[in-house]
Each structure stands twice: as C-alpha cells, then as structure tokens.
Symmetry: C2
C-alpha cells in the first residue's frame, strides 16, 4: 500500500497548531487522497458565482456542503443541499447554505462551500474507526442510512485490518446480502470496499491521534467504492501505551510461578480456619513435591515444615510466594520477595482496588514493577496446577487431572468452576483466580498455557480485559494451536461513552468484544454452563477433518431437535450421497428414514445402532457423528453406551477417529450411560438435544478458526 | 368499523368470473375504499392526453403504473414511472409505459395507466396478509424497502387482529425505533398505521378467498398512513375448514379418557416383554383403582383380572381402551370400541402415517369420527395421569405427583420427559404421547388441562400444529389461567413455500410460530432443557406482583452474570431507592456494594444473607429476588439453604410471598443445597447463573401475558 504519511502529518500538524479537534471536509479529502481512499471530484467555492462555475467544471448534479470548523453536524445545521442540477441552482444553494449556517450559529467561521460530484446508485455503506480504551484502534463497517443506525448492524476489527479481516466484515453484517445485489441490483465490488476498510484501518494505526473517523456514506457500486463524506476527529492528548513485558520474560516467570520447585507461604499458620493454614494443608495434602517454606514471625515450624521469619531468611531459591496476610502487610512482604528475587507473588488478600483502596493497589504494582515480581491478584482464591499436584489456594484440594486450564476474574465463579469440575469429572490442568488483575492477566496465562504440554484447552471467565489489544494479539496466535474459550461477563454494562462520530455511537461495548474475540479465534461462551461444558467437551473430541456432520437417531423427534441445534451452532448437515443412503437403508427398517438424520426408528436392537454408527465412521465423506439414543427394552442405555464405545475403539484401532457426541432420551438409567460415554471419549448428555451439539459446534468453531478444516 | 362488504363481494365476483387470480390496482383501490384503508388520489388514464389531464387534476408530482391483468410485477416490466412532474412528462410517460409493457409481454392486455398522487416523506412500511396452512389468515407488518426484505424484519398476527395486536406489531419489529422519529424526523402516527393493519386483517378474515395481500409501500407520516400500492391475490378454491368438535364435547370425552373409571386393554397379555403385558402391569402396579378389563381372544384371565374376547362382551361402561395390538388389527377393534360407545382409544401401535401407511390412518380416523371415539396417537407410548395413579403406557410406572402436565409429539422426547421428571423430582400430573395426532392434539389437551384442578402448568413438545388456529384460540384463553409452555421443534425446516407476494416471501414458517405463540400468551421454550426446567420451576414460583427484580449476591462475579441474564430474559433490575439502599448498607461490609445487585461480599456469615434477603422480601417495592450464593467456610451450602427456606417461611407466615430463585457457586456440596432449596420452593441451580434467571423470566413472561402485572 503506497501512502503519503508526510502529507497526513502536515495536515494533522496544522490542525493541532490551530487547536482544532476535527478536520474540515477538504482536509479530510486530502488525508484520503494520501492513503488512496477514493473520493468524488470536488472543490471549495467561496462565492455563489464560484459555486456555479465549480459545479459546471465537475459536472452536475453536485452536492454542496458548508465548510466550517465550527459546524460538525452539517445536515442538522442546514448546511447540505444535494441534487443541485444547474449553475443557477448552485448559485442559489450557496446563498442558502451561508444563510442557514449563520442562523444555526451566528459566529460560525465559514470557509466556503464544498461542491462535490453527486454520487448515486449502488449501496451506501459506512466505513469508520474509533479508539477503544481496551482494544485501541478499531475499524468499523456497516451499511449507511438511518435504518442501519437503528439496528446497529455494524462490525468491528482491530486496526490495522488485513484484507481477509475486511472481507470477513463485509460478510459479517446481518444485511450482507445487500452487497450481493438484491431484487435486480448489481453486486457491489467487494474488493474495492475491503480496500477502503484496510486503508482506513492502516491510517488510524499509523496516526494514533486520529481518534474517530467516518466515511459516511461510501458509495459502493459494481465498479468501486467512493467516500462521499469524510469526517476525522483528532485527539492529540494520547495516553501512554500500557507497559507490556517481553513475551520471553513473561513465559519464563510464569513457568516458575505455575510449576515452582519451591513455594513460600507468607502468613502460614498452624491454626485451623486461618487462610494460611488452609494453603499449607492444601500444598501438603495435595501432594506437592517441591520445597514448602512457611513464613511466620515466630513459629519454629508449621505442619512439619521449618518456618522462617522472612523469605530473605530462606537459603534456597523460591519460585513463588503465596500471600495469606492482611492487606496492610502485603507491601512490606512484597519488597522482601523482591529482594529475594522471587519471580511471582500470589496475592490472596482482599482489601485493595475492589474495596476502593486504589492507592494500596498502586503501591504493590509499583513494587512489583521495581523488583520484577509478577503479581497474581490481589483478591483471589489462588491457583491450582494439577500436573505438579499444586494447590496454592485456600479452597479444597482438587483431584481430577486433565487437559483443561481454566481461570476466573471472580472468586465466586472460580468456586463454581471447581465444583463443576469435580462433579462432572472434568480433567483440569489448572484453575487460576485473577481477581483484581493488578498485573498478571488473561494474556499472561495464554502465553504460559500455550507452551504448557499439560494443557490442551484454555477457558477463561472475565469481566473486562485491561488490555484487550494485548489479549487479542496473543489469543490470535495461541488459538491456532489450542482452543481458547471465553465467558465475557458484563455484556449489558455497555460502555455508553459519549461519542462524536456515527461510528462511535454505533459501537456497543459488547459488540466490540464479540467481533474482536471472533477475529482472534476465541470461542465465546454465552453462559457459565457453556464455558464449563466447552472446557470439558472440547479436549475429549478429536478434531474433525471436514464439515460433513451426520445425525444417527433412534428417535425421530430427537433428530428434529438435533437438526435445529445444528443450525443454531452453525454445523452443516451433510447432504446424503445416494450410495451411502442405500448402504444405510440396508441396516434400518423399511419405514425408517435414511437421508440426514438417519432415523433408525425406536424399536431396533443394538445391532442397528452398531451397524449404522460403524458405517458413519467408516465412510470418509462423513466427518462427525451426532447420536440420538432412545431408551427401549430392546436396547437398554448401558448396552447402547458400551456398544458405542466398542465401535469407537474398533475404528480407532483401524486409524479412524471422528468426533462423536450423543443425546440420550430415556428414563434415569440414561444418566449412567451418559457418564460412561463421556468418560470414554463420547460427550453425551441425558435429556438434552442442544448441549451435545453446542459442544461439537464449539469444537468446529475452533477447528475452522485454526485453519484445520477446508 | 364501517365496511362495505357488498362492494368487495362484487369486485371479487367479477375477478372470479373473469378467471383471474389477482386484482388490478384500481380494483385493489376500490377494495381499500370499501374498508376505509386510505389510498392516494388517483385515476386511470387510457391515453397520453388523458394521463396529462388526470395528472393536472390530481396535482403533480404523480406516479404512473401500468394496469394489466397479465402483468403482476409492474416494476420489472418497466410499467412504473415515478416523479412525473408536468403534463408533458405525463404524456411521454404514458407512451413509454405502454411500449415497455408490449416489450415485456407482447400479448398483455393493457387496460390503461394508473395515475396516482406521489406520496413521500415519513416512513415507508408494508402491511400485508397471507394464508398459512395451519394458522389460516395472518396479517403482516414491517418496514418497506429492500433492506427490510433482506433482514426479514417483519411480524405476523392471526387475522382478524385487534388494535392491541396491531400496536404490538408496530412495537414488535427490530427496527421499531424508525417509527418513533430518528435523527430529527417526526414520529409517525402509529394509530393510523395500526388502523390499516386492523382493517387489512378484517378484510382477509371476511373474505377467505383473498389469499395474499400487499400494501407496499404504505407511507406513514405524522398525519396518517396511506397505501400507495395495493396488490391482492385471490384463490377461490378454498379447502374446507377442518372439523372441530364442540368444546364441551371435547372436555367431556377428555375427562373420561384422562380420568377413566374403567380401562380396557386391547391386546392384554400375560407374557413378559409384550407391550400388552407392560400396560397391564403398569395399570396394576401403578395403583390404578378403577376397573381393568383385559381383552384377549383366548385367555380367561390376565394378571388376576378377568379377560374378555371383545370390549363388547364387557358389561360395565368402559371409558378408555388402550390398544396394544399390531396395526392391521386396530381398525376392527376400533369399530367394536365404537359399538361399545367407548369415548377414547389410546393407540400405541405404530405402522400408520409415520411408515407411509396413510390409508390405514385415514381408515381409523373415519371410524373414530363415525362412532365418536376420540383417538390418541397412533404411534405413541400412551399416557400417564398421576392423580388417578394411571399409567396407560408400556413405559415404567411414574411416581412423582405434582402439577405439571407435559406432552410430546415424539416418543423419544416423551422418554426424556419421563427420565428428567423422575431425576429432577419434578411433580407431574400427566405425561401424554400424541404421536401421529390422527385426532387428539395439543388443543384438546389444553381444554382438558384448563379445567383439571390437578394441573397448574402445561408444557408441550410439538413438531407441527395440525390446526394452529384452533390451538392459538384455545391457548389464548387457557394461558390467561395457567402457563402454557411450548417447545416447537423443526424450526429450521422453514416452510419455503413458493409465494407470489412480498409478504409471502417474508414469511418464514418459524417466525409465524414465534409471533402467533406470543400473541396467544404461550411461553416458547428454546430447547428441550428449557421446556423441562420451565415445567419444573414455574409452578414452584409464586406469581410476582410487579416488575422490580432485585439481585442479592455473595459473589460480585455472579452478580454480573445474573445481571446479564436478567437482560437476556427481559427482567427489569429495580432502580434502588435511596432509603432502601441505606437500609441494605446497614447489613453489609463498608466495601460491599448496595445498588442492584446488592453485593454482600464473599466472606460474610449466614446472618448477612438472612438480613438482606429478609429486607428484600419485606420491602413492598421489591417483587422478586435472585440470590447469588458463594460457598465459603463461614457460610456452608446447607447452612445457606436452610436459612433461606426459614426466611422464606417466616415471611410467608406474615403473608409475604415473592418469587425467589438462586444460583449457587461452590464445591460439589452446593448440589445438595440446590436440591433442598428447590424442594422447598426456591428453584436453585449449581454452577449456573443463567438457568435460574431463565426460569424466573418464564414466570414473568406468563404473568405479563395473563395480565397479572401492572
């Protein structure tokens, strides 16, 4: 992309020198020119006669718009007249606009009237940019017009955006069909629109002082895309970028914190009921094999471990210090940790930002930065890392090892994660409390889990991202290797910031999260239960090799609901090839239905399930199976479950592995069958047709984002 | 509403006589005139000079449109020219239109050119009507324009629609803000638009031969609503209305069937594994106290009950006959039931329409009609009616009595209902299989359960409604008394019928169900689990007396997710009054947050939960409570649960009853606490913030629909 940065710099410097907060339309046009963003032929007239002549030069019809640094909303001020068809009309329009401007704001400085080639035809779209506190520069795209504003049908991406990002924006609005040509209109040149998006995103990335930008409307036709109106808002008072340590340093520290060879417990206690006692017990009873150093002002030893007055008194290296002392004592102990060169502090104590004690939190942040101690918390339950048998928390010890790493911003949600994990026998590698996130946050965890061989999926609950851009950049890379699931809470506290651009007004806080998480390959969970079920199910399922999903069901009714769920979860029901249809028909009763779903009917013996599922697994055109089981006397739940696991293992021995999920309809015995299936690699649910399909859908979402499907 | 039906009849008769399938625009205008639907000044010109004169009379600008019974899509045929500004332009436009029409279709009969006052300004909307196979006449409303077509932002109601229905349509489209006046435009006259909707709905209800109708666009301004274009499609070949017995007859039969004093089992068997054996055992072991008559060709007695060769041989009255014989024998036995004047037959056998045996099903339908025997099924598991200890099914006996009546179209889903009910201890009054619905369907069940004192909620799974209109009419009445929940499966098999109107093209099958179920006060479940959870939870909750919902939570993180769920479920978080805020603050730590959610913080003793929940129950401004519990050592799960039930009962003794639901975050012990709470009137869920709020939301939805809130 050939751009003239010097030209933009010159214009912005002039605007800054003039103390203005926005560019005039002619300045906006020059900025567009510098970045190759097409705009219509135009000029500025400073008299009625000049307007008439300019119109003639450009070619009628023209649009005429007031040029004034004091008038931002030109239409409302009566400063816009469109469809000017002749020199006489142009002359009259000039006078009208000036009169309106004066009426609107008597002292408005009017620099002239912009005379612009009228564009028309095609589809009016809007391309814009905003600056978000967490995500930084974002580019936006939507259709133009007031209806779109009402519907808020607009989509965002981090700037700069790639051409692929831009194309995904065109296809990502609800009304995307409008661009394809409807009711006889011609499709627009999508590449040209995407090019405008990419250029706008590059422009705002290159010039951080451009805080908001609107190209509204952009006329998109079959031939190209031209920005008819340009509005640029600037803010020269940029806040400094957030400090971000080097990735290799993050990973080095996080490895020592999460997989420590030694742990100090500051505030360790022998007294039951104390947090420092619970932490000690959990470390010991959890089976942690490294050194444990209780820190206590007086005790000789605690729970059989020699105690120290300070971490400084410990001779060996300490990898992480767990704090179980009241807030007022944290800063002092943290300095000692710094002096001891401990890379991480797990700050269980509350009493910081969450209670309004901002100063206390800033103090410990400063200490952490000064001594290079990474801080987890404060105001957390601590963390579990099961491969090391490490329970650095005051909660109960956790025992089901596995591949899912979970984290939560909130302690309550952390407890729900622990309870669910234990109850559902979800194998976990880590559960981490992030609390106030004074330092360590979601992207630090991503970097650690990315290179942690004990983790196959990362599931996070968060209420906000302190640095959404850093998270998105890391997540985009990590999610290509391991699924990242996020439950973003607080969807409804939409950051209703005052905004002076249309794009800004269209930007709901949650929509930005939605789009950027998707851009980063993150699977968004819609509910706590979804977060937990996805974390549990995704690592159990093998990665599908293609989009063809097949439903095999004993209950026609389940088949219908499973089909609904496939559509809801963006899964593609395979169109059944004739030969495969015929092959299925050999196994099912004549009144059963092949096609997809394959309805084997309710009264069938185990063999029918066996034959049809085996056929589905064997045929290379089928990439994933959804099973609908119907409890009958002929095929009882556990018979079905054991048989399915047998078929799965038999095919696995032949090198065939496909994701399978199951929905079980029946009396209470199906619960045991569901658990058996789940423990043997087939996520299965009693009394639900939607959850198994949602889990499969999440796996597919990840596989698509990671480029594993074609 | 003063209407001229005779005029419409005259026009339709003429159209019928001419063998046409649609009305010309001038005919359409006359129909509108007869029903008081405003249309612009207009006339038909039959020459260029006539067009010029007519334009002058009406006042320029005018729109000109070809009038031809052979051209339905006028725009595509080049038959429409708008913005005609003078006599000269009108004359030229006339010639152009005639030339285009000839080019489009050489033999098109052109009756002239309609010259119509050009309307403009305001908002373009569409009002239309379609005929649905299940629901009959429906009126539609949406915004005009191609974007709305792409977004399918349109809403439907049964015709005729009331003024309230019409107003709810205006407020029920996504883009409803457009009608309120956006960006400086004036709000439209909603009453005038609603009046057009009501009149269109009345017109199509009065004249069933009007199969589709479009008023597109209708110009809605602050002054009124005028239909600029009228299109009416007719179909004189109406299918006869479906037979519907009188309601009192339905109720009388259903009472005998569901609460029989005697049951015959046709195909009763002493042999284990036979369906007729399972039915006998379930009747006996289930504890049914009425007479049981086994019917068997040879046996003397079966399981201790005297057997008969035919129902005709039984001396006493038989209220219902359960069929457990193969399909080919059903018709013969059914005739005997008819001769014995048995009012109901429960047809368990499969082998009818579901296997393609339409003839067999039509045969039994005819027998049923002839002898006035109501048919349940065929192809069903039978039914349970627990107040009578009646298990007229081959499934296992059911034991948890309660107030929820459930039904399913599919046997598999029925088994899931049974399993879930037993597992969740959901109290059930009835579970009914409807299968092929050859006769008894959802509205018959509604009529029975409406007057059944043992039932407080009706939850139904269905894949289609054979007579959606009958269902909607009954549901509208019943849902005022008892909540009706429906899981409509097959959302995605959208009835993509070819349609010749815009309204028809906009009508997705599922959207019609969505809107009509809402119009009828039916709560739509989005998933099987929702159906089951709503059926379980709604009868447990008392009806709220107002919209003010308050969240009290120990975990701030749960509070955020619970708030999200409130928005998702259309619940209103009460704005906290200052005095109540102060009252809460007395009970919570200084760093806790009052407001709504009330965040009591995590480390609090039982007393804090007790005090705050009591305060929420006591204050008359609070109408419902959502509790967020966080598992701690200080307040263990069962301590919390028992305390909450105590507080609830204490307030109940004082006459205070408000719906309360709870979300429990914690280790596995919260599961027991959740069950205890549920069994004691507080629907509670472990590891979920969304399900308890969804259940409360469903209760509210019902209460609003039934007019119990204000």
């Amino acid at each position: 992309m050939v751009v003239d940065k010097a030209e933009v710099r010159k214009i912005l410097d002039a605007v800054k020198a003039a103390g203005r907060a926005s560019l005039t339309a002619p300045e906006g046009k020059l900025v567009c020119d510098a970045y190759g963003i097409p705009t219509p032929g135009e000029g500025v007239a400073t008299s009625a006669a000049g307007a008439a002549k300019l119109g003639g030069d450009i070619g009628f019809p023209v649009a005429m718009k007031v040029v004034s640094p004091d008038i931002l909303h030109k239409t409302e001020a009566g400063g816009v007249i469109i469809g000017v068809k002749s020199a006489a009309e142009a002359s009259a329009a000039y006078d009208t606009i000036l009169a309106n401007a004066k009426k609107h704001k008597a002292d408005a400085r009017v620099e002239g009237v912009q005379v612009q080639k009228m564009l028309g035809g095609g589809v009016e779209v809007i391309v814009g940019a905003i600056t978000d506190d967490s995500f930084g520069k974002l580019v936006a795209f939507g259709l133009g017009g007031v209806l779109v504003e009402v519907l808020k049908d607009v989509t965002f991406r981090l700037a700069p955006a790639t051409n692929d990002d831009a194309m995904s924006m065109l296809n990502g609005i609800q009304a995307h069909e409008m661009l394809e040509g409807v009711r006889g209109s011609e499709p627009v040149n999508k590449a040209a629109v995407a090019d405008v998006i990419v250029k706008v995103s590059q422009l705002v990335a290159d010039f951080p002082e451009i805080s908001e930008m609107d190209l509204n409307p952009v006329f998109a036709t079959k031939d190209g895309a031209t920005a008819a109106d340009v509005r640029i808002v600037v803010d020269f008072d940029q806040k400094p970028a957030r400090y971000r340590p080097e990735e290799k340093d993050v990973v080095a520290s996080m490895n020592r914190i999460m997989k420590p060879s030694s742990v100090a417990v500051i505030g360790a206690s022998a007294e039951d009921g104390k947090i420092g006692n619970s932490v000690m017990k959990n470390l010991i009873n959890g089976g942690y094999k490294g050194h444990i150093y209780p820190i206590h002002p007086k005790a000789e030893s605690i729970l059989g471990h020699k105690a120290y007055k300070s971490v400084r008194d410990v001779e060996g290296v300490i990898d992480v210090a767990v704090f179980a002392i009241p807030a007022p004592f944290v800063a002092g102990a943290l300095v000692e940790c710094g002096e001891k060169k401990i890379p991480g502090a797990v700050l269980i104590p509350s009493g910081f930002a969450e209670t309004g004690n901002m100063k206390g939190q800033e103090e410990i942040q400063a200490i952490g930065r000064k001594y290079n101690v990474r801080l987890m918390g404060p105001n957390i339950y601590g963390f579990y890392y099961t491969p090391a048998n490490l329970c650095a928390t005051f909660c109960t010890a956790y025992d089901v090892k596995g591949k899912a790493a979970l984290s939560s911003q909130s302690g309550g949600i952390g407890m729900a994660i622990i309870g669910f994990s234990r109850s559902a026998k979800m194998g976990v590698s880590a559960i981490v409390g992030l609390g106030n996130k004074s330092d360590i946050d979601e992207d630090d965890l991503l970097m650690f889990f990315e290179q942690d061989d004990n983790t196959e999926i990362i599931a996070q609950h968060c209420e906000d991202l302190k640095d959404g851009r850093a998270f998105a950049e890391v997540a985009k890379r990590v999610s290509k290797k391991k699924p990242v699931v996020m439950l973003k809470a607080g969807r409804t506290s939409a950051g209703a910031k005052a905004a002076s651009s249309h794009t800004g007004a269209l930007a709901g806080n949650d929509k930005i999260y939605e789009d950027v998480l998707a851009q980063s390959g993150v699977i968004r969970a819609r509910s706590l239960r979804d977060l937990l079920e996805f974390a549990r199910g995704i690592p159990v399922l093998p990665t599908p090799k293609g989009e063809n999903v097949l439903i095999i069901t004993g209950a026609g009714g389940s088949g219908v609901l499973l089909s609904d769920a496939c559509v809801d979860n963006n899964l593609k029901l395979m169109a059944m090839p004739d030969d495969l249809d015929a092959a299925f028909r050999k196994f099912i009763p004549p009144f059963g239905a092949a096609g997809n779903p394959v309805d084997i009917t309710g009264g069938e013996p185990p063999r029918t399930y066996q034959n049809t599922v085996k056929l589905g697994l064997e045929d290379p055109r089928v990439h994933a199976l959804i099973l609908g089981y119907w409890h009958t006397i002929i095929t009882p739940p556990m018979v079905f479950a054991k048989l399915m696991v047998e078929v799965k293992n038999e095919m696995l021995a032949k090198g065939v592995e496909k994701p399978m999920v199951a929905s079980l309809a029946g009396d209470v015995e199906v619960e045991e069958a569901a658990e058996y299936l789940y423990q043997n690699g087939i996520p299965a649910y009693a009394y639900s047709t939607e959850i198994p399909v949602a889990v499969l859908g999440a796996k597919y979402k990840w596989a698509r984002g990671a480029g594993l499907l074609k």
